[in-house]
Symmetry: C3
Amino acid sequence: MKPAYIAPEGSGNEMHSLIRDLFPICRSITGEGFRESLRRIAEVVPIALSDVATGTHVFDWTVPKEWNIRDAWIADSTGRRVVDFRNSNLHVVSYSVPVRARMSLAELKPRLHTLPDQPNVIPYRTSYYAEDWGFCLSDLALQALPDGEYEVCIDSTLAPGNLTYGECVLPGATTDEVLISVHSCHPSLANDNLSGMAVGAFLARHLALQQRKHTFRFLFIPGTIGSITWLAGHEAEARSIRHGLVLSCLGDGGQPTYKRSRRGTALVDRAAAHVLRLAGAHALLDFVPYGYDERQYCSPGFDLPVGCLTRTPNGRYPEYHTSDDNLDFVKAESLEDSLTKVLAIIEVLEHDRAYINLSPMCEPQLGRRGLYRNTGGTTPKDYEMCLLWVLNMSDGRHSLLDIAELAAMPFAIVRQAADALREASLLGAFDRDPSNRARGASSSLTEPSRTSLSSRRLNR
Amino acid sequence: MKPAYIAPEGSGNEMHSLIRDLFPICRSITGEGFRESLRRIAEVVPIALSDVATGTHVFDWTVPKEWNIRDAWIADSTGRRVVDFRNSNLHVVSYSVPVRARMSLAELKPRLHTLPDQPNVIPYRTSYYAEDWGFCLSDLALQALPDGEYEVCIDSTLAPGNLTYGECVLPGATTDEVLISVHSCHPSLANDNLSGMAVGAFLARHLALQQRKHTFRFLFIPGTIGSITWLAGHEAEARSIRHGLVLSCLGDGGQPTYKRSRRGTALVDRAAAHVLRLAGAHALLDFVPYGYDERQYCSPGFDLPVGCLTRTPNGRYPEYHTSDDNLDFVKAESLEDSLTKVLAIIEVLEHDRAYINLSPMCEPQLGRRGLYRNTGGTTPKDYEMCLLWVLNMSDGRHSLLDIAELAAMPFAIVRQAADALREASLLGAFDRDPSNRARGASSSLTEPSRTSLSSRRLNR
Amino acid sequence: MKPAYIAPEGSGNEMHSLIRDLFPICRSITGEGFRESLRRIAEVVPIALSDVATGTHVFDWTVPKEWNIRDAWIADSTGRRVVDFRNSNLHVVSYSVPVRARMSLAELKPRLHTLPDQPNVIPYRTSYYAEDWGFCLSDLALQALPDGEYEVCIDSTLAPGNLTYGECVLPGATTDEVLISVHSCHPSLANDNLSGMAVGAFLARHLALQQRKHTFRFLFIPGTIGSITWLAGHEAEARSIRHGLVLSCLGDGGQPTYKRSRRGTALVDRAAAHVLRLAGAHALLDFVPYGYDERQYCSPGFDLPVGCLTRTPNGRYPEYHTSDDNLDFVKAESLEDSLTKVLAIIEVLEHDRAYINLSPMCEPQLGRRGLYRNTGGTTPKDYEMCLLWVLNMSDGRHSLLDIAELAAMPFAIVRQAADALREASLLGAFDRDPSNRARGASSSLTEPSRTSLSSRRLNR
């Protein structure tokens, strides 16, 4: 059987290939481009599309009109297109209302967005909730425009329609859910967030082949309004979310970065910290109420244990939200490494649990069970140390992740040691699982058991 | 209206001028000099003087006799005054009993206090509770004294009388009190503690013009015996003290320093740390049972939440308790900056409270309320971030100070964001105020609300 | 009277002399050499020897056969002994079964243990629980062996007999016990663990002359199987162990090192950290389930508050478990310093307790009791500061160790200050001792008393 929690070989290239397919499509928070993108993802893993009609009230928001666009340009007095949507869909401010007009450069300029500090790149701008229109272009291109009359055209429609989102649910042994949320509404930006969409799709395809304790729910949604819409329609389902990850910006060459959930010490927060710490250079960030859809999942009325995994976070790389976030900027190796990191986190979510040492009075004799070297006087190997850690700490108060953290050893090895000790009947199930602690159910568990366990044995 | 929590322009110069007036007066823990000083302060802000008679038992202590002095000198055989009280009131050990005698230099020397390591300065010495007499002079002056006979005179009285203290109470909307305590018993020492007396007086004058939630009580007292005497006579009032500051050494050029109360995490401790952290170079010290009157307020039988604000703390600058702590040593800018710091701390004490986000399911749409920029794709401004912080954390568990600390933003801006959100009906009152936590009333509040809030909403 | 908690003068040399006597004896986990060593220690302090028969079940283990050895050698074809037990008892793998055979060097080599990285030294190896035989020699000696036939002889017996351990119990005023455990089963290794045996023996001799609050139990046992055997036979006694130390590797020139108990915050953990912190260079290590007999005392079924004091810890010095761990490697000064450290830790265990300030409203007037200087204006001496600390923190919530840590002053001085304040009737007994906290009995004590103490006074 293939390893359950390692990215399949070659998946980096497959993900990059998917990103190349999706890159040219003009996505926004609604419209055909978004749906076309989901249909392409559905070729990787089956996803169901849902439509929510314009005007639907979702908490404090209203589902906006559907936006579609065919063409857009600015032409000079000779009719030459000096800005052309066909070259880059970033050229149009997303959700621009239709326009056809002639105007002087001076009149046009307030509508033109550039980045003077990065004169070569086209910025990405939107105006979802205030009806408006505009163009984005490089500052160099703007400076090159001579004064004079220009013709502008935005051939778009903004009309009642639907907000669409994609959903893929992989049932598990329990109805406890892991949420994987991916915003899928950005146009030609490879890292933000085609990389997240690709890693999400291949993660789903991979997990679909594994045994699962949790039910996994994948959401491919427009940012902000998508998560708000889904949450508004699924308050009951949201109650089943035990752990969650927002995936974004997973293809650049930067170090993996995990931003904690609002709770800060949820199991997913600890799992991600554990995985990243043992994997080399990384960053761990505390929750801030800005970023991606974790803003909604972690709003105080939900307060779900949902963190965000990226490589370089949003806003911290110069290519962010510009035309430089292109196909060269994302790398197959980074994508594959990101998938491996997500799977390692999921291994913890799926398998963290507490055991009880069934031979807790002194150490059991591992040597006669073939679990320990016979020649004394030397120092134990890592795996032997791991067996000792699991035995010593399996008192019902420490889960495998707790032990991995105490021992500074990978969760996978601690889990393997626990399996070996279970097989040797030295470890038994513990019915109250301390990994529940992150869900606030721990207070009854932690305090008394520390001493009671040992006193119970000593008192018998 | 003038800003409530910023030192009025020019107040630094006004405070320095008050210090200049007070400097020549010979103060001690009792006597006319102390009363004269209070009458001068009463020209800035009305204070009531109270007398407690010699011999009154105050806890483990007894109010001492009243000390007054007219003149004191050491004259050489020619009758020339070689040490003269008229030049500096530091020359006499405070509370010296009257003496008139002739004696050799050898007999006199044990009565002469100098600082050999700082040969130019006169030290400040006292002998309040053991009847004694002595002189202080520079070590250079001592070395210059030829052998021979000297005449010494201390024209003082030590007799039954009163201990006097000054009090200024500014009533607030509640009877919860903020205590501002200033020891006022040192003679010609500008920083310790004329600076504290000046800042205290101008603080009272300024707060008298503001709306106040708390009742503010200012005490101008002799050190140690003054706070003991006040506490012994006001055990009931002491029970109403919710926050307190001892003010001292606020005019030197050093960085602001806050010494925590014995509790260590009282609101005043957190408020002072917040204010100083955001204001640049500063120091935060843990409580030690030595220093100024916080020793009494923080004795275990009271354990009041009273910290101590200084610039360079007592004993840590060479001018401390010497004639070099003079009018040049204290600066108008430092005094004004100190007043600004105290006011910023008081702003937190007055306005820290918790709110409830009234739209806690996902983020409310700030844009349509004019509270958020309309063009997406850019990063939010500080004030927008602040609105998001207040919304996300207003769950009844986090006060505005908690949020300011999480967001690493000034309390004043967080408070402004909360006011805007209240006006937009997005924030509501929370009846159980977590700023009470420092008073030990929090245990019932913190734990359950973390999850119950969200579950309550999800369960409805 | 001699000071109770300082190593007696000359004890370093006496301990080194004991180590010299014990060094040549061939010890193992059972056998005559172990018993002979205990008899030699019994000349320093009376210890009782107990025998447990081969085959006795002790938890998951079985007491092994008794091993004794008279001689062992490898001879070349000329009959010359090229490896000779008479030169070093490390030459034989401990617990080697008897053998007499001729074999080629190639056949012999798998039986020969060397350390190629340290070619001059003989390693120490054992095979207690898998019947086997072998020799240890320097790698240089191995390389010098020519090919050819060799005769090997191990004149040992492995037969039913006894496991022996030594015990010395010094009764105290209470039946609460302090356990001092010393593994005594290593052959000619001076630091590991003749140093521990010597410090343990002289510690017992010294404490036998002191008043004791605790009952002290000293165990001289074979490693692992010894502590398991003792625990299996003394579950009830184990329940009385309040604090414990494993002593080992106490003679080398390295800095003192304390490894915490599994609990991590037991009083012995805090006492050792306090003593080492104030004594200069040192190391504090968290518990790991490997090392010496603390592995058994800290197994989850017992979870006893037993730490381990060493200088350089096991496995962290190149001489460890080799012939270089010899009489030159251990120093009288180190041994005496180690004894002093253990005694300082024991001073805390014996005398830590909480008091109640009987004059808690403000400071009591120390000056009139002769406990404070009379001339004011100067800064207090360390001892005066210590009096203030004890008074301020003696609220029933802080023990003397807590205060020593807050004040960063030696426990001995804090204890002296408390004694002086007791004599002055300023301090009274507190019946609920917070040093119990490490035993888990604290939850009822800590929280409520913080405020109730002061409010009780204020409310009266």
